[in-house]
């Protein structure tokens, strides 16, 4: 028992400064007790009880002396008993009572909160008057005004932001690209002189008429006064198609997209339909009160524009040909063009208005235009739809306007505009190159070929001694014909395909098709 005396002594010594003499034993004590009990249990079991009871009541501090080799070998058997003797542990017992060291508990110390408090304690509201004063004078020195004597105001009805999906067009400036693709092919050779010159006696010098058209089977129809002549560009053969009597004259000619049917607008207000393979008139369609200066085909629908400002859509297959009359202009219609995909009809008039009409299922237009564009300051005669971008329309204005404008007909916006310094009588897109040709009047009576969309001049073709009234393109796209008021027709070989480039593209096409086959 002497050993217990010793333990007791040690306990009393150690517990002198500790306030907890009663109460639950800390875990480390329990561990030690366990050990000691296990030691004792080897001797006899009756003693063990008394020891544990003593330990429990006095809350003994550990005693290292008790530790011996047997600790590890016999550990578990007695634990349930020990547990029953000690009350449920409370949290206060976590830290050792008797220790004189302070061990901080990191999880309990609110570091984030502390950090936040330190960093964000300088709220303006909590500032001392002196530091407020310092801040105010600093601001005054920096900005020249008092911080407190100023308000920031803004209008509440904010402007809208750009439409969703809009990308900053300035991106181009920041991206490093080589010279634009259009610049390199500028060196193409374009003959400055016309390939051929044909006489066109008595061609009417009238801006508002459309007297020339070239069809897919290489036949050019030209209206000269009261006559219409057909010139076969392949053979050079000339046929007279018709002649009007009296003082009447032909105001417009237009070939159907495929085949040999020619529509003819006259000064009487009638529209005639001719089969040119047989030189035979098929029908006369009336409905207009004044001369028909413009015609355009959309499949079986022939649209005609009149001096009265009225457009009539004729269904050439039907007995009652007059499908729809629409009024979009207050003055003579001089430009009328269906888009290449047949979705829109563009009409330009002497009232300086350009109308875009949407097509309906019957291939004619609705009664109201979707866009009425009034940007031109003069009559709009020259109209041309882009062959590779079906919703891009080019339009040219007369003497007072002199602009070529490009329209996106999906949005109705003007995409580009260029001042040509001269009346724009006709426009024609190239199907070979990304270029557009324009025919002009005073002062140079020239043709200009422009790069699209940069609108850089590729070349100017001069030769006409009076204004270029009409333009037409050959079916292969290589030659353009210009009809001038100087009674000449000039053929310009300005869109001839580059033979080397052609080979390359055809090879390329062959390769891609092979690739497609192999994928399948």
């Amino acid at each position: 028992m002497s050993q217990f005396n010793y333990i007791n002594e040690m306990n009393s010594l150690l517990t002198l400064d500790g306030p907890l003499t009663k109460g639950p034993t800390p875990r480390w004590q329990k561990k030690c007790m366990e050990n000691s009990s296990s030691v004792n249990s080897t001797l006899n079991s009756s003693k063990q009880k008394s020891i544990t009871s003593i330990n429990a009541s006095n809350s003994k501090t550990p005693n290292k002396c008790i530790d011996n080799d047997l600790v590890r070998t016999k550990k578990t058997p007695k634990t349930p008993k020990n547990k029953s003797t000690t009350p449920t542990p409370n949290k206060g017992a976590k830290t050792p009572n008797g220790a004189d060291r302070f061990i901080p508990l990191r999880s309990a110390a609110h570091f984030e909160l502390g950090n936040f408090k330190i960093l964000h304690s300088n709220d303006t509201e909590n500032l001392s008057p002196t530091s407020k004063e310092v801040q105010r004078t600093m601001y005054e020195n920096l900005h020249g005004t008092d911080i407190s004597s100023q308000r920031i105001l803004s209008y509440q009805h904010k402007a809208p932001s750009a439409p969703e999906g809009f990308q900053n067009p300035r991106r181009v400036i920041y991206t490093q690209t080589k010279t634009p693709a259009s610049a390199k092919s500028n060196s193409r050779y374009i003959p400055q002189a016309p390939d051929r010159i044909l006489d066109a006696p008595d061609i009417i010098d009238d801006y508002y008429l459309n007297l020339v058209d070239w069809n897919a089977s290489n036949i050019l129809a030209v209206a000269l006064g009261a006559n219409i002549y057909l010139w076969n560009a392949g053979t050079g053969k000339i046929d007279q198609l018709m002649e009007l009597s009296g003082s009447d004259y032909v105001c417009s000619v237009s070939w159907i997209q495929e085949g040999d049917y020619l529509a003819v607008g006259t000064s009487m207000g009638t529209v005639e339909l001719w089969d040119c393979s047989q030189i035979k008139r098929l029908r006369i369609m009336d409905g207009h009160s004044a001369r028909v200066g413009s015609l355009s085909w959309n499949s079986y629908i022939l649209s005609s524009g009149c001096r009265s400002g009225q457009i009539i859509h004729h269904d050439v297959r039907q007995r009652n040909h007059n499908v729809l009359n629409v009024n979009g202009h207050s003055q003579e219609i001089c430009g009328l063009k269906w888009s290449t995909d047949g979705k829109y009809l563009a009409s330009g008039g002497n009232d300086n208005v350009l109308n875009i009409w949407p097509a309906t299922s019957g291939n004619h237009t609705q009664t109201q235009p979707i866009y009425t564009l009034t940007s031109h300051q003069a009559a709009v005669k020259a109209l041309a739809w882009c062959p590779w971008q079906p919703n891009i329309l080019a339009s040219g204005g007369g003497t007072a306007d002199r602009h070529i404008r490009f329209w996106n007909c999906q949005t109705g916006t003007c995409v580009n505009a260029v001042d040509t310094k001269s009346q724009v009588c006709a426009l024609l897109w190239s199907t070979t190159y990304k270029e557009i040709a324009s025919g002009h009047g005073f002062a140079n009576n020239q043709l200009i070929i422009w790069k699209y969309p940069s609108m850089v001049k590729v070349t100017e073709l001069t030769g006409h001694t009076a204004r270029v009234l009409h333009l037409a393109v050959s079916p292969d796209g290589s030659t353009i014909l210009s009809a001038g008021a100087d009674e000449t027709l000039r053929l310009w070989k300005c869109f001839v395909k580059n033979p080397i480039k052609n080979k390359e593209t055809s090879q390329l096409k062959g390769k891609t098709s092979l690739l497609k086959q192999s994928i399948r």
């Binding site: 100023q150 920031i152 105001l153 803004s154 209008y155 900053n168 400036i173």
Partner: protein, 202 residues
């Protein structure tokens, strides 16, 4: 003689009009040059011997006209310190760029009938130089590669009646800002200093 002199003189009202006109052209030019709205929305207008792109969007036009109409009133009362054009990212609401137009009253502040005899031609030449600089700013300003909107904030004196449809706004500060001062011009009544502050990426 006096009447002759007054003919070419600029009143306080006229000076405020010149300032507002400049701000209108400047703002439109910034909106176009910085690519905040599609270029199709803009129309070329010649002014001060320059081609300036003006927005044709009705809502933008309306916003600017009502803002500058009110501003003109305040300029005449000499309560405006600064006009700021704020360009913010629509998605993150982050301020991308700020154009400051600082106003100073150089003439006799207490005299409402003050007149300036600075020739209009000279003022317009000065304005033209600033507008040229604005157009040229594209060269050094970073690309606004996000959907952006703009706002106009007017810094006024404290003792002002808040008109209807106007409200207090929060100052728009830019993190890691870089500031470039442009030229200034003066009507001898108002002096206008222009500066652009933008976010420095590196």
């Amino acid at each position: 003689m006096a009447a002759l002199k007054n003919k070419s003189a600029i009143t306080v009202k006229g000076s405020a009009e010149i300032i507002c006109e400049y701000l209108n052209f400047g703002t439109n030019s910034i909106l176009f040059q910085r690519g905040i709205y599609p270029p199709e929305d803009f129309k070329n207008v010649e002014n001060y011997g320059l081609q300036i792109y003006m927005s044709q969007n009705n809502k933008i036009k309306e916003f600017l006209s009502s803002t500058f109409c009110q501003l003109k009133d305040w300029l005449m009362k000499q309560v405006v310190n600064k006009v700021a054009l704020i360009i913010t990212n629509v998605k993150t609401r982050e301020v991308m760029e700020r154009w400051d137009f600082n106003v100073q009253y150089v003439g006799d502040v207490n005299n409402p009938d003050e007149k300036s005899d600075k020739p209009l031609k000279l003022i317009q030449n000065e304005i033209r130089e600033v507008l040229k600089q604005i157009a040229a700013s594209v060269a050094y300003l970073p690309l606004l590669d996000c959907l952006c909107s703009f706002d106009v904030q007017i810094y006024t004196k404290n003792d002002i009646d808040l008109p209807a449809e106007w409200a207090d706004a929060q100052p728009a500060d830019i993190k890691n800002a870089q500031c470039v001062k442009l030229r200034s011009f003066s009507t001898n009544i108002h002096k206008m200093e222009t500066a652009v502050t933008y976010k420095n990426d590196d």
